[in-house]
Subunit: 151 residues, 4 copies
């Protein structure tokens, strides 16, 4: 599931700079931070389609939570690097979406992530775990409709 | 204000281990993380007095926010270090408390912080900036009443 | 691989408190932070066997890096929670170890992680990707030899 | 010292988006993260002058460390906000620079920081605390020479 078939185009690209805050005493980007990079990319992907998480929450009383993450670390990244996160919607069910989110450094794949996102209902001030149908507008945004496909 | 007079005893001590997540590519603890350490110490200081932030919020519709922070970095800390945060209430007004929170490594002062905490009212789902009288029970806890004084 | 068979005992337990720094605006522990919790637990597991990462690096010119992470998020954790990370060595090759690292809240499994750690050589000031045989002393420590098994 | 006189122009502006990773369970940007934002801004300010921290370290065997930070929190920031960090060099000695780094949200000042940076020598793999003369090229970059002044 984490393998993006060769013929599939990425639906979105997001670039970011590596700062001191992202690194650790090993001299490289700390392993947990790739999940932060993936979320920044998803947020900007939605924004590119005119959506933001706050409005979605207000309009639908739903939030998106990461339900599964599979990460393969293939190579390190360093301070001052410019990294690119490339994202594609791989598949979806009524309430869950699976995205490939791969991180590139100087054109070379260094981190391969498969992220499953669940759409859940908001209840009170906490987050329930009750699944909710993903609005079509979100699926369209994450499938890259209306965006320029890249590869 | 950031100088703790020699005759003042610390009201609370909190120890923590430095992990990879706390360090940066310079090989030392990242500068912003000392504010995290200070907050862990304040939280445990309240807990030692039988208080937790969630209950305080529920009971009084108030939260505590950092309104000022003054930090003097005197020396580095490294991976695997055990650090100690020593805290004292320096002074307070009706709605604000000023704490000395100093970090020690092997008995040597490495970071000196003066943290001002404001008590503010909760409104809707955001945080208002409307000042609120600090409950006496909080002042007592942060003044170390009922705790063993250390120095 | 992420399923820990029922008859396997955990080799190590590590408890931690959830502070504000660990949470996000959704009101729950931020998804990336579970990887931090897992690393704290591995570090303390090595320490319980008398090993620390700095000494290992000095003695063997090797470091351990996360090469794969598989995370299943089953339920949220909140501010002030006490969480327990339970760790077991599932299997190993000459240069890689696979650990189950499961997070419990009030006795209930909320996050299931399978973490693969690679032993790599240090070269210059960076980290090479050249695999290196894992010292037996590390394997023994992570297999819980000399520790009290828990379940 | 934290007050930027009205007639002083900012030397550099840096904008950033607030993501989930930046927020806490209070629903606002976590207090420690403003120090991260300040460092991103300083890094980009140097980069705008053609300098990066890695090259400076290689060329001069020096690094810059935060030696003092004074922060006044005036108002909150929220998920999805676009914030702007405005930076000016206030004053400097032979080995230390003092910067005003103020954060704006929708044109309103929400966080006022005075950051003192020390230039120190690198020794072995750690960071010594031995002060070192700041290269003129760095002073010029942080004084905004060759940049478009903003206010």
């Amino acid at each position: 599931m984490s393998k993006l078939p060769d013929h599939v185009h990425y639906h979105h690209e997001f670039s970011l700079r590596v700062y001191y805050e992202d690194t650790d005493a090993g001299g490289v980007v700390y392993n947990a931070n790739y999940l932060k990079f993936a979320e920044r990319a998803r947020t900007e992907m939605l924004r590119a389609a005119g959506l933001n998480q706050h409005d979605i929450r207000r309009a639908h009383d739903i939030v998106f939570v990461v339900s599964k993450a599979n990460i393969i670390y293939k190579g390190p990244a360093y301070l001052d690097d410019m990294l690119t996160v490339k994202t594609s919607l791989l598949e979806h069910t009524r309430t869950r979406m699976t995205l490939a989110q791969n991180v590139y450094r100087n054109g070379r794949l260094i981190t391969e992530m498969t992220i499953e996102i669940a759409c859940v209902e908001i209840q009170d001030d906490g987050i329930t775990l009750k699944a909710h149908t993903t609005p079509q507008i979100i699926l369209d945004a994450l499938a890259g409709h209306g965006m320029t496909a890249t590869n």
